[in-house]
Symmetry: D3
Subunit: 189 residues, 6 copies
């Protein structure tokens, strides 16, 4: 209801969203974010790095309903299947060649290999992933229609929560025995 409400991340009052920094203290720098300009470190089992330009890192986005991320992927690197509970996502490839895919609630898998400058859209709340199918590093910019879209990473949600989801839930879910569940859990320990 105001032009803007730059987040006061250190406020003592906790809201859904954040209180505003006093208007008199707002400067041009509050609308600026430099966290997406450098390539991330993809030296991990997933060959993956993400830099998030959401309200927690870029307080000027507070109440404005938008945010952006940068994803870097090593060759065969993956941004593992996940969903955003509060946003649609649009993707533009900045470097490399990337398979993007999502699955609808009717269980249809939609996918496409994107090269530089190409765009794809992931409807809100659906599980999707990005996978570098090229021979060199790949980078993407993603935009969300939420200041804090959140991410439910399927593998970590089921196999690495704190406390853990009991095995009986997971064996029943995947119709496998404890060995399989324990094996997967061990990868995320």
């Amino acid at each position: 209801m105001k032009d803007f409400c730059v987040a006061d991340l250190n406020a003592t009052v906790s809201l859904n969203g954040f209180p505003c920094k006093p208007v008199a203290e707002v400067t041009s720098d509050d609308f600026f974010f430099d966290g997406l300009s450098k390539e991330g470190n993809t030296d991990n089992p997933f060959g993956f790095a993400v830099a998030q330009g959401n309200v927690l890192s870029f307080p000027g986005l507070n109440t404005l309903g938008i945010s952006m991320n940068r994803v870097d992927l090593a060759p065969r690197g993956i941004n593992a299947p996940h969903s955003h509970p509060r946003a649609t996502e649009s993707i533009v490839v900045i470097k490399g060649k990337v398979l993007v895919g999502f699955v609808s609630t009717s269980n249809v898998y939609f996918y496409k290999v994107l090269t530089v400058g190409q765009m794809f859209v992931i409807p809100r709340g659906l599980v999707h992933f990005q996978y570098n199918v090229g021979h060199s590093k790949a980078s993407l910019l993603t935009a969300f229609n939420s200041q804090l879209p959140g991410a439910v990473i399927v593998s970590r949600t089921l196999f690495a929560s704190n406390p853990p989801i009991p095995n009986q839930i997971l064996t029943k879910t995947f119709q496998v025995d404890d060995d399989v569940i324990n094996s997967i859990k061990s990868k995320f320990a």
Copy 2:
């Protein structure tokens, strides 16, 4: 913007939501649904049945932003981990003893065993499940703040989509080899 807009499910125009049945043809029965009154058949590997009172089965809900389901669970039956891309869910147990749980985007697992008349809430878009921990059948009523919340069932989304998600995506995601992925896929074939 009208009091109601009973869905014309057979309209030739497809919208996000549905066109309205002519007001002159609307009767009391359009606001009534009898699909939740009978126990579902839980004779399947998951010991699970769901009856959905959403706009597709109950056209009177169109534009009204609410829907309800009935879930029946055999002993050790599960409503497997899933998320609703477009709704918060509230749950009330009608019969039996049920473990309900969800995982936040910070990967915290919240859970509770509910008995008859007890209520639990699942924030929108988060992965959750219900599991019958009692010795007899259990039933739940769930309410959603959407006329068509949708359901992303994690296991089916990843292992039973059409067409299938390639194995290389899933082995990388769960850090397992093809055998494990193929084994799980076979359960959902």
Copy 3:
């Protein structure tokens, strides 16, 4: 914009909605509510009891856009005509036989007698009621797409407000004389 924001009902800051309890203090119990499991006392002139599972009694609902009530009705008991200024309502009968009805803004009365497990929907803001037409107690669960739907109970609003609405307003409204107005007012004193 966050997964959840459990209401801090004792916060010194008053908002439309509530500030959040610190995330570090949130536990599974914050998403649980046990206020709907017991039958209410219907020993009153209306044969009516309601238990409300809204944000004021169940702080975990804060910002989540859903709530649920339990209504108990003695035989011939009534949940008197009222409207919810901020929500659509869906109703499922849990016990007994109940007449539910609402009136549209075009003044059409829609109604239905429901038995156990049957569902009915009341579009947002319309006047509706529930009346036990059976010979034993009846119970209903109602769901709302608001964490605090509010209730405008017609009889109390017009005849028992504080301060009272002047008689000249009410006599003109109902085209009756003071005796009738005073008589009704006396029932709600």
Copy 4:
């Protein structure tokens, strides 16, 4: 999502809201409405007239989320207690002296006598009225944050619906006997 969508009130497709007139046929007159400029006829038992500038009479308001009414009141005339299920209302008196009041869901009656140019606001969904306390005609302009706010007129809703609400509901509601209900119903026949 477009600048505007002038309602095609004669479209064969019925929506919640209206389909748009083709853009090529839209003219300045579509954004203009002359239905509020003349005083209404208040020669009726309520001393009341309303002219509605909503999407049904002023198709250019479609999708724009605003509408305005003109209310004329004879001395002692009343715009009887009613609520708008889909809008907050603001009121400005254009002529005369008017008592405006509303009752909150906590049953508090708020009211004020307004003279020309004075403004009052009625929160969405609450029961309110306007009553001419002056010795000459009064006129008001009211604005709503909906293109079709709807109106639930309490007296007509309860006592003049089609079909009628059964007496047993109304006698129980107001704790009076059939004579009183029948008497009031007769005024609205």
Copy 5:
């Protein structure tokens, strides 16, 4: 989510919108505003005055999604081209004869001369103006579907901001040289 939340304009916490005054301190006067009843002073180069009934002057509007202004115009006076970033506007002429116009994003100019009681609507975010084409003073009431619609006044935005927009931006924008820009800037110094 509450009936109302009268703004506490002096709260130490800054929000997008305002915290609420304690309910126990709310009185009828909180829903009343007398700032639109007097004619404004139009003795300035634009022959223009505006009185704003928004949340900053009328705290009772907080969270209610509506506000109203009064505009007074001397003969040939103008409410210069501007847009409201957060609201649709409806206009009713109270006195005089006024040209109202707006330009769509397709660059079509829609306009109309209004006399007393006539209504016009300006879709949200579009540039519009009001100009007194009569021989005497004119007055308008405008309603907005926002408690704080904001106003981007084109001339002041481009030529009188603080700090100033550099001339090279403005000469390129309007394809004129510095003299023209400096001349216009001087009128708003």
Copy 6:
């Protein structure tokens, strides 16, 4: 309310938004857009080109609330001052060095020079511009939280509408004489 609703741009029914293509005809290509991958032609007086990835060019965005544009700027090229009536905008520079600025409704000018990978946000509805301050071409990606944000280009809106805004409005607005207005109008003829 559905996962997606790919726009049927050729539907005979006109809506605010678009009807959906039949689900059975939806393919992966509906979620893909290749219109942002090529540099635009900036050989014009403004040194400017824009490619728009909104619902009109990329029907898969329909109902999803997001869109993206690509802007190319020659050295000293400008994306002239404009506002988006229906969206906040975030900007990331892909190539070159660009001055971005906006003016708040309090008339404060906020601005920043961005280099590759840097991000800036423009609150919804505010006037803003981008200007290439480098010595080579510059490119930006912009994201919007609307499928069709619209653009009000100030210069074209005031000086090149169809039909034209009368000179008397513009001379009064900018406090200049007809010569200046006619001169600017001639640049946009």
